[in-house]
Symmetry: C2
Subunit: 360 residues, 2 copies
């Protein structure tokens, strides 16, 4: 109660100073971009995604509405998606070519440009929580592998066996891929490998095998189920975070853009907060998240203009697919993608939820 | 010979079209920025650095002068520095808190914006060669840890025991740190830990203990001995690469900016090629290498203006120290740093070598 009164007083003072509007806030989330179409996603499954995205938005909203930070709001939203097997992050992450979940995440604070990132962790229940601890409790930005897990244990974060992440759906998917690789000729193996690494969008993907043959409910989330969130809080601070299991059947310790500050995640109060999802290699090569910020800062573009220019210009021209969500300091937001769909949603200061998954 | 004639013909055609100058090329390298001062570096050691930097420049020059690519030239220069114990990369890398060398590297092709990066590899003789293979021979950009080493073995790259990297100087340095940590009070441990992570520059570093107590010859290279190279070749293509052992006594699988595309390395024919060295955490949080490129592209700054703005503006304002080398498509180059010195050098199309190490 005391807080509410104080907030009102501050708001009045701002009004007196000529700022007509009360402090605003907003949360925007994504659950991955890819071949998400009405015909490949049952209505029942659509309802599940809508319910989970809404739950994540409301969790972050409670924090923002109570005067909490954008960092805490995005972590609250992302952990809910990490815990849901609907997305390729945390529980339900895709499996490597040896059947293991290897998780990546990153977070950035727009007020300080402090950041935290982790890659290839296998036993930390919430990779985004670990990224936040790296930012807050270590002198470093990026920790990887077993070293990152040792830090997580020192921090008292919840540790789990890798089995926790491996859902029966992902194990079936893994087994199907493994069998097809074993059965196929070497040229088919190359095709399958390639199909696992590209988006199943007609006209851009050289091979549609996975899209046409596999369980469509799984396909929708399997290669682009990365989750992320960006927020503006009542203090005017931006934050961004991203969490992922990477690509199915990955090997050689492959890391995508999700733990790369400037590619998968970026936040700067002077411009915007961005979280990416898609073919990580292209997002790294385009420094996509930072490029949107740079276009705003140096070329004077709006967030929506910059996000569209990078996704429909740079990324598309490179042959990459995926999308971003973004928010600026005025609470304007953007959701740009060049895939068939993107699981996405936003909640505003009045608690109005808007969740979508198919084309723009 | 045939190639030389062809190159001459092309050059003449360009002259006829009004382009007065023959194709130019240039290589720029660095061997780390930090507390490099005449009073902390013996003349004998200075001569060793000058000789090795010159050797690296000449190796890259031979490739560029023969019509080779900027990518091959930077790899040739970097591998020579990796093999030298003078620098904190490859052989002579600093050791982690368990006495192991963990190496990071990245490379980027300005013509295609293709890139390769490796982090935390312990058995690959040349991390920059592995980064180049990741770029050329895998569908990925970043591979880490044992997975990256498995890829290196598949590629037939030279593997070594970790002992290869551990020079007697680094083992002595490691032992000295370990003893000081064991003997010191917890507050001294904190100070030492901090001193290991910041640059020993008066006025910016909160603790000068390492600078004043340790072997000055070692100090000069120990925290900022990352190596890197950028080049423009006769075909007009830019490339950049970086290789490092990271920071001494690092733990938790810490990774700095050197393997992060956009922070430690960036190359884009439309703007510039950049290699960074310094306190990696700040370079990641500033997306330093990509930010220089973005300032050129979107704000119309020259390479030197952009490099100075980022190093003496953004980086310094964040409290970070280090430097960058850069080159643009006209062969203009930049060497910017906010530390006392930076090991650096350049060689132009006429084979003129310019090597420096102290203040600008």
């Amino acid at each position: 109660m005391a807080f509410v009164l104080l907030a009102t007083a501050v708001s009045s003072a701002q009004d007196a100073a000529g700022q007509a509007e009360a402090p605003t806030f907003r949360l925007v989330i994504h659950g991955g971009a890819g071949g998400i179409r009405p015909e490949t996603l049952s209505e029942e499954r659509q309802a599940e995604y809508e319910a989970k995205l809404t739950e994540a938005l409301r969790a972050g909203y409670e924090i923002l509405a109570g005067g909490g930070t954008s960092l805490d709001a995005i972590v609250a939203a992302i952990t809910i998606m990490e815990e849901s097997p609907l997305f390729n992050a945390g529980r339900g992450a895709v499996l490597t070519n040896t059947g293991v979940a290897e998780l990546d995440a990153s977070i950035m604070d727009g007020a300080t440009r402090n950041a935290g990132a982790v890659a290839s962790v296998k036993r930390v229940k919430s990779p985004i929580l670990l990224a936040q601890r790296v930012m807050d409790e270590s002198p470093h930005v990026m920790l990887i592998g077993e070293g990152a897990e040792a830090f997580a244990e020192e921090q008292g974060l919840e540790m789990v066996e890798n089995e926790y992440f491996r859902t029966s759906q992902r194990l079936e998917q893994f087994e199907r891929y493994r069998q097809r690789l074993e059965e196929g000729s070497s040229s088919e193996q190359g095709k399958l490998r390639r199909s696992l690494e590209v988006s199943p969008i007609p006209g851009t993907a050289p091979d549609d095998a996975v899209t046409s043959n596999a369980d469509p409910d799984i396909v929708a989330g399997e290669k682009h189920g990365t989750v992320g969130a960006v927020a503006l809080d009542q203090h005017g601070n931006l934050a961004a975070g991203t969490s992922t299991g990477g690509i199915a059947f990955k090997r050689w310790g492959r890391v995508g853009d999700s733990p790369i500050i400037g590619a998968g995640t970026w936040a700067d109060n002077e411009t915007c907060a961005i979280s990416s999802t898609g073919e990580g290699e292209y997002f790294i090569r385009g420094a996509v998240a930072h490029d949107i910020s740079a276009m705003m800062r140096y070329a004077g573009l709006s967030l929506r203009e910059a996000a569209a220019a990078v996704i429909h210009g740079t990324l598309t021209n490179m042959g990459g697919t995926g999308g971003v969500i973004g928010i600026d300091r005025e609470g304007n937001y953007a959701m740009a993608f060049n895939t068939a769909g993107m699981f996405r949603g936003t909640i505003d200061a009045d608690g109005r939820v808007d969740v979508k998954m198919f084309g723009q």
